[in-house]
Structure formats: C-alpha cells, structure tokens
Amino acid sequence: MQIVAKRGTIVSNMSTIFKTDSLSATLFGKTRRAVLALLYSHVEEPFYLRQIARTAGVGLGAVQRELKKLSEAGIIRRTVRGRQVYYQANPECPVYSELKSLVVKTVGVGDVLRAALVPLADRINVAFLFGSLVRGGERSSSDADVMIVGDVTFAEVVSVLGRAQETVRREINPLVYPPEEFRFKLEADHHFLKKTLEGSKFFLIGDEYELAKLVE
C-alpha cells in the first residue's frame, strides 16, 4: 500500500494490472459466471442447454441446475419451441440492465481483455474500453473499442488480442497510442481523443488517476 498525497487516499500498490483473475470469479461461482457471461453478453440470442454447456465448458448437469435457479429467479427466461428449450436473458428482470453492464465489464469482455493484455501490461500506462459497449444500450453486435496508451505496437496488441476476440465473440478494435503522441494530440485539442476521454470509459489497466497523470 502506498499513500498518494495528491488524492489524499490510500490506494493499493497492486493496480488492476495484476488482478487478472477477475472481478466476476469473486462475485459468482464458476457455472453461474459462465452462464451469465454467455446469456448477458448476447442478450438478443436464445441458447439451448447443450450450446450453453459447450460454450461454458461445464457439465450438463451443473448447467441444468444453474439454469433452473436463474429461471426461477427471473434472471433468465425459459421458452419452449417445438421440442427444444431455449434460455435467454430476461429483459423484465429488475436488474437486467445492471447485470448486462456488469457482465460486459467483467466476464463478458473486461476480464478477457484484461487477461489477454497481461503480457504487455508493464509497458501499458492505461487501457480502457470506450464507445457503444460501455455507454450501454449496446446491441449484441457492438464492437469492443479499446484505447491503449503505452510503449507497445499495434502489431503486439493484435497478436495478444487475437484469441480474446474469439472468446468474447465480438470484434475487438484496438487503438494504440504511444504516451507522447497521446499527450501531444490532447494538447492540440484532438477532437476524437477529447470526446473519448469525456465519454464513458471502463478501465482495464490503470485508472482515471493514471490517465490524468499521463496528460499533465
């Protein structure tokens, strides 16, 4: 722990960089996490049992029990079509939008990207999600726009994010800035960068404080 005088608060020395094994793993058990990750990051799609079990990499029995609990609580919706039973995120659930946002920011995209960036983390000042995915109200097809400021190349970022793209079943669009160029363009009132910094962000590496330090 260290004391940061400027903020007057105590912050952990171990910044988010090292906490790759996820917020969601702490919040939810393995099976629930996997089911919510799939259903709440693709809210427009209905899924059937085998599909969920396969994607989640969990046994059928465990998934079945989880689906039952989640359906009974109204967190997901169970529908029968012909001989097939489908499960889908339930938009009538009182915490639907909160869950959706939580999933996207953690296991849906956030955890996966954060873990994928680990090999480059010591050279990244800040990395955050921005754009329609974090603004909320996203369609299933929203791309994950990721801003990365650090001494890394686009090629390096693409190579570590390759597999993550398949895992999250979304296009990932990285935008890579070296710190000097980032600073210089912000000082020059770069429209897109300014707008992005003012908009919603979800940090994968670093935080608002790191970002402010970078711009100073």
Binding site: F154, S159, N173, P174, L175, V176, F192, L193
Partner: protein, 147 residues
Amino acid sequence: MSLQNWLNNGWLTEHRTSSQEITALLAVADRDLADCKTSGLSPDWQLNIAYNAALQTATAALAASGYRAVRDAHHYRVIQSLAHTIKADAGLIALFDQFRKKRNISGYDHAGMISDQEAKEMVNFANRLRQEVEEWLRENHPDLMEE
C-alpha cells in the same frame, strides 16, 4: 483448404495473368508506398494509402497463382489468400486483417481513430510485404518478373 477449394466455393475466379499485369500491380503498390510518405498527411489517410499498397501486392501474388478474388468480401479474401500464395503465417494475416478493419471504421464518423504510430506500422508492414512478395515471385514465377 486450398485455392482450388476457394474456387469451388465461388470465392475466386480463374485468372490468366501476364508479366505486364504483375508489373502494373506492383507499380501501383510502389506509387502508393511513395505517396504515403508525403509529409503532412493525416494518419487516417496515410494508413489508407499504405493499406492499398499492401492489398495490390497481395493481389499480384494471387494473380500470379492464377486467381482473382470475387467482389464479395474482396479485401478479406485477398488478405487471407496470402496463406496459400506466399505461405504467410497466421500472425501476418491477422495483423493485415486488423488493419483492414481499422481502415473500415475510420473515415467520416470516426476521424482520428488512427494514431500516427499505427499509420507508421501500416507503412512498414506494406513495405515488408512488397519485398516478400517480390522475392516469392522471383523464386516461384520468374517468367512473370521479366522486365
């Protein structure tokens, strides 16, 4: 999957090329590689020009192999075909394809979604590919490289 499979899938058409065509395609690539060094270009535009150079280069390799990509998903196919023509590794193709996506999302709505560094990387990539394809052509299709 081979390019013959691609042909059967309707992703390619057969194409008889000539040394003139290959020379012309590489000349367009060289023109773009020179143009993208113009000072004062926005990174968006620089990336765009260098991307075009790389695409023409990949098109030359595909033509030399006897094919042309159909219009549907044209850029995507030309990029992926490098695995079969010059036997490019998956990393090179993934990077090229990510540049393609980057070029698609930039433009009117998102001016500025490309950094100077990314544009520079695209330029380096296009130069490297241009060199690799030329070496491959000399080795595998020397008849098409006669001046």
